[in-house]
């Protein structure tokens, strides 16, 4: 009974999403479609960063309570090295944070490129047509960028706080 109800809910939600997306696409202006393209495209690009920083934040929260499970970090890092130190959690978190740096660099690089391509033509006066569509892409891409920015900031600050506490101890 419960399973059937869950399926009905799932089908209802799927149908709602399908018709919502269809009507949206049918009624949308080219600028809105560009916004959604930028949104989903950059969410895909930001995927390793979002899951990486979210996992790291979870790990850091556990480490602050002294309940960090080293296996999670080993899985994320994909390393065969196992640290036997009792301060291993912090070291692993630091490794994890540094492992995400190239992804972050690539992501912000792509976003900066889009920003420049979209904004540079506007310097010569407002451009409609292609200029407007590029700006839509830029606004769409800005949404996952805020998510990445926030998660990175939170993870970095929490890591720094734990390191400072460790140093003081």
């Amino acid at each position: 009974m419960k399973k059937a109800l869950a399926w009905i809910w799932f089908l209802l939600l799927a149908a709602l999403l399908f018709f919502g997306a269809t009507f949206l696409a049918a009624k949308a202006t080219p600028e809105e479609l560009a916004f959604f393209l930028g949104l989903f495209g950059f969410f895909l690009l930001a995927n390793p960063l979002i899951f990486g920083y979210a996992g790291l934040l979870n790990f850091l929260g556990d480490a602050a309570r002294g309940q960090a499970r080293a296996e999670t970090a080993y899985k994320a890092l994909g390393t065969p090295i196992e640290l036997q130190d009792e301060k291993a959690a912090l070291t692993l978190a630091l490794l994890w944070f540094n492992q995400l740096v190239p992804y972050r660099y690539a992501y912000y690089g792509f976003f900066l490129l889009l920003l420049l391509v979209a904004l540079a033509p506007q310097l010569a006066g407002p451009v409609f047509g292609w200029g407007g569509v590029l700006i839509g892409l830029m606004w769409g891409a800005a949404v996952p960028t805020v998510v990445v920015f926030g998660l990175e900031l939170a993870a970095g600050w929490q890591l720094a706080g734990l390191l400072q506490a460790e140093k003081a101890a």
Binding site: T29, E31, I135, W139, A142, V143, V146, G150, Q158, A160
Partner: protein, 152 residues
């Protein structure tokens, strides 16, 4: 934990700015699409009399985005004090000129053949009829009064 709160506040500020920007952009694109769907009425931006050809030239501008088609023109002549010509009308002279959005076109309103040249005080009323794609069967019109001033 204090730092995490700070990062949340900072992220929230950035998120509000991005949300405002994206929302304003999307609303502006919708407003522009709605405005562009409405056909505009052509406006007469200049009217001149060319004495050699005995015709009045109207310059019509389409301020909208939708294309218009100018169907025909009607000229109504009303004499002033100095003119000996009698009032007359030339109705429905075919034009068939396409007027795309944001462009202007010159329409020549030829006065009656063998009629006198215009004198100051004479009034020529030019009526241009046009159609637009949203109501293909309907005909709209714009009328402009042209009065020849002294010293021209």
């Amino acid at each position: 934990m204090k730092n995490v709160v700070g990062s949340i506040v900072l992220t929230a500020i950035v998120a509000v700015i991005v949300g405002l920007g994206a929302g304003i952009y999307i609303e502006a694109s919708r407003a522009r699409a709605a405005l562009e769907a409405v056909p505009a009425s052509p406006i007469v931006v200049s009217a001149n009399y060319i004495k050699e050809k005995n015709e009045v030239v109207f310059e019509l501008f389409n301020p909208g985005v939708q294309p218009l088609t100018l169907v025909d023109q009607t000229v109504v002549f009303t004499p002033g004090k100095d003119s000996k010509e009698k009032a007359y009308a030339l109705a429905a002279v075919p034009l068939g000129v396409a007027l795309p959005g944001g462009t202007s076109v010159k329409v020549h309103l030829a006065l009656k053949a063998d009629s006198e040249k215009l004198k100051p005080g004479d009034v020529v009323a030019g009526t241009i009829t046009y159609t637009h794609p949203l109501a293909a069967g309907d005909v709209y019109s714009v009328t402009h009064l042209f009065k020849l001033e002294e010293g021209k």
